[in-house]
Symmetry: C2
Subunit: 465 residues, 2 copies
């Protein structure tokens, strides 16, 4: 009889818990959709401030704005974490062309982030088209030297997860100039990382590694339409002339900041859950999807948790990372400081895949953690959140990874993302208010569940200060 | 021993089938994404032809264009099915205003489809704001008579399925003038069916039922921003003056067509599976999402099935319905003719919810049919298709419903749909190529499975001619 009573009691308690979770989650979605702040915050970041390249005046404005908004939310602590960041400046608008059979074609072109400038008069040369770095190496120094290398391997259309298509191409952009520079090339142009055929060049980070300065060649992206046109023209005129001009410049590192806010946990203040996105963006658009969306969604998580009216059991931090795009200095610094302070992070969740309709999360975690997450999946079903898979999380939170910790990335619908990524059309009008808000509510729900139930990680530090 | 061999054989056959299905479906997705036709067809329908209101010259052009494209696909039969459709013409661009405290505010306004015109000089009057038809009726003739009724119940933001929010509001648009006319109102304006605050009026069908002509009052939609502004102004000036002017006109019915194409089944030609969308659209935009997308996706289903190179077991028909928007005459006619000919339709699938990323299907079917569908869900998982629920299908295929038949509707992501629905921004640029193509591949996969396995419906007619 006693056992029965205990069982009924336990069952009742479990049902009650489940119902509380359902209600809490419904409340997050209802509030985000009917009375959310994320869209208004994004409007300010995008339209009042604009593109926020590391080290720029706009990046500093974004730091000040988001800090003040977090203070207004009434979090327990808000602070800036100093971090030195690279400062690269695009300069004059780039120009480029190719000439074939007496015809002059203007190119839609932009410098890659971190590239050196061309001489003032630009560079001109013959074009060697390759499908990638392997083909470049196979051609060898003799064929490469003195020429402009045109990397033209397109993103794979048949991949459903467009980030996989990006991953399969981006080495051309990141390391293309490094490898071509070693072989004495004059310059590099790369087909934009874009699944769509259009006229917009897409910038992005590139590296020279430890190449000596005299081997560092200018590197730029051209639009997908131009890549197609150039490739066709090369088939009938292999010795056509191409030229481009850019005046970008790398300055000394400057001081910048991660913006951090915290709700201190009442029961387990030493178990830290962070939620974040990156505050910096490329300079061509206003960085609404990449990653203004992740920034304002992370702020909204804090607001929705505060609105709920109960203190959190664990410590919840929002971290708005600086310099994801061209250095990852903010993420690296945050992890360094956390390690130095012996802080225990149990979960880190990043939103850095655009402000589109959320589909779920990918998790970098153990099987036991994954099992816990899958147990929560039914709570998300009414909101059409169905994707809970192992996979990468986010660049900024990567350095924080320790044994047993859960890293998670919000996974929005990815079909449109690369239409806008790093291009001049990554702008506020390309973000749908409801889609953005649904992402914020989805993130809040996951953070709420981790706050309520913790992870499977054995926490070895004392749980109370 | 024999039993074991049979079991191994059956198991092997089942595995082989499953593998065939996986491969067939992968092939549909790969081809749609890398070598699809739907986007080029939509480009023509939207940009070369444009808005296709029933009875218009553009509707006729769309009939001829899609017919010729289906013929080019080499289907077994292509034909036009005559149907009489209403012809309503918008006339001059509408105008409207309200005046309060000496200020004149222009309204973004459009006539609802089927509305009568105002007198040439327009109508002017005081405004009674109501949240719906119930409130109108409660106010009664005394308060309504001679005034302009302003229906201002917004779509419910917290509903995840935006079509539910639409369903909860659209009675104001459809029956608002009918009910207000009975009470002697001068005219009706309706808040646009749009979840977003913007400046675009959204048209759509309305009815006068069998109201005598002298009680038929002009009915128009205003943008959501204007609805908010007007409502605020009414709070401080209840007797402000509002006026609007429209010159729309209903003509006699004209002959039009459903466009139909068929791949005749090799084994069960009398079991018919149809896939379709509607060819007509509203006139303000070019009808790219509503329902150009459904039209070209349905055509692409036929193309992908043909490309597969094997004949289908059952008869697959594409039906491009005429006049979904303001009469449903095409869907009604198709069902009439099917009944007259004693045709057995086992499945009808419609795409009429926009060309956004597909999430799955809703099904109007028996529990046994639903069980079969759920068994197929794992085949769709790699394509992030996760939504298989009972629910409505599509307006055009509704009249076809018979006992035992499966009606299905493609369910794309619905968050952006009502930003564009029936408004001037339902245009080609709002459709993403990959999202459209994913929808076509998803539909093809379902049709392929029904073709391969049939339904659970007992087919009573002879299966061969």
């Amino acid at each position: 009889m006693k056992i029965k009573i205990v069982l009924v009691f336990l069952l009742g308690a479990a049902l009650c818990k489940a119902q509380n979770d359902q209600e809490a989650i419904k409340n997050f979605y209802d509030t985000a959709l009917s009375d959310g702040m994320s869209y208004a915050w994004l409007d300010h970041l995008s339209n009042e401030i604009g593109g926020r390249l590391s080290g720029s005046e706009n990046a500093q404005k974004a730091i000040e704005y988001t800090q003040s908004q977090l203070v207004d939310l009434g979090l327990d602590k808000v602070w800036l974490q100093p971090v030195m960041v690279p400062k690269w400046v695009r300069g004059e608008k780039e120009s480029g062309y190719f000439k074939t059979k007496g015809e002059h074609h203007e190119l839609n072109i932009c410098a890659l982030g971190g590239s050196v400038a061309t001489p003032e008069e630009g560079i001109q040369g013959k074009v060697i088209e390759v499908k990638g770095i392997e083909e470049l190496k196979a051609l060898g120094e003799e064929k490469i030297k003195g020429n402009i290398i045109f990397y033209n391997r397109p993103m794979e259309q048949t991949l459903i997860h467009t980030f996989e298509a990006y991953g399969g191409c981006v080495d051309q952009r990141y390391s293309g100039a490094l490898e071509a520079g070693k072989l004495g090339a004059l310059g590099v142009i790369v087909r934009s990382m874009n699944l769509r055929l259009d006229d917009l060049p897409h910038t992005g980070a590139m590296t020279y590694g430890d190449l000596p300065e005299d081997q560092r060649i200018p590197s730029a992206a051209i639009s997908t339409n131009d890549a197609e046109k150039l490739s066709r023209s090369l088939q009938t005129d292999a010795s056509l002339e191409l030229g481009f001009k850019q005046s970008c410049r790398q300055f000394e590192d400057v001081e910048s900041y991660n913006v951090i806010g915290e709700i201190t946990g009442t029961e387990f203040p030493n178990e830290i859950i962070i939620v974040g996105g990156h505050l910096d963006s490329w300079d061509l658009g206003d960085g609404s999807h990449d990653d203004g969306a992740g920034v304002v969604q992370s702020m909204e998580v804090m607001r929705l948790l505060k609105l709920k009216g109960q203190k959190t059991r664990r410590t919840i931090r929002v971290v708005l990372f600086m310099n994801e795009e061209n250095g990852l200095r903010g993420g690296t610094k945050y992890a360094e400081v956390a390690k130095m302070k012996n802080e225990v992070h149990i979960v880190a969740l990043e939103s850095d895949s655009g402000g589109f309709t959320p589909r779920g999360f990918s998790f970098d975690c153990s099987d036991a953690e994954m099992e816990q997450v899958l147990g929560w999946a039914p709570l998300f079903k009414p909101y059409l959140i169905h994707y809970f898979e192992k996979g990468g999380s986010g660049a900024d939170i990567g350095p924080l990874k320790t044994e047993g910790m859960v890293l998670a990335g919000l996974r929005p619908d990815s079909q449109r993302y690369f239409d806008h990524h790093h291009a001049s059309n990554d702008t506020f009008d390309a973000v749908n208010k409801r889609e953005l808000e649904l992402g914020a509510a989805t993130m809040t729900s996951l953070v709420y569940l981790y706050d309520t139930y913790g992870t499977k990680m054995p926490v070895t530090l004392p749980l109370k200060n």
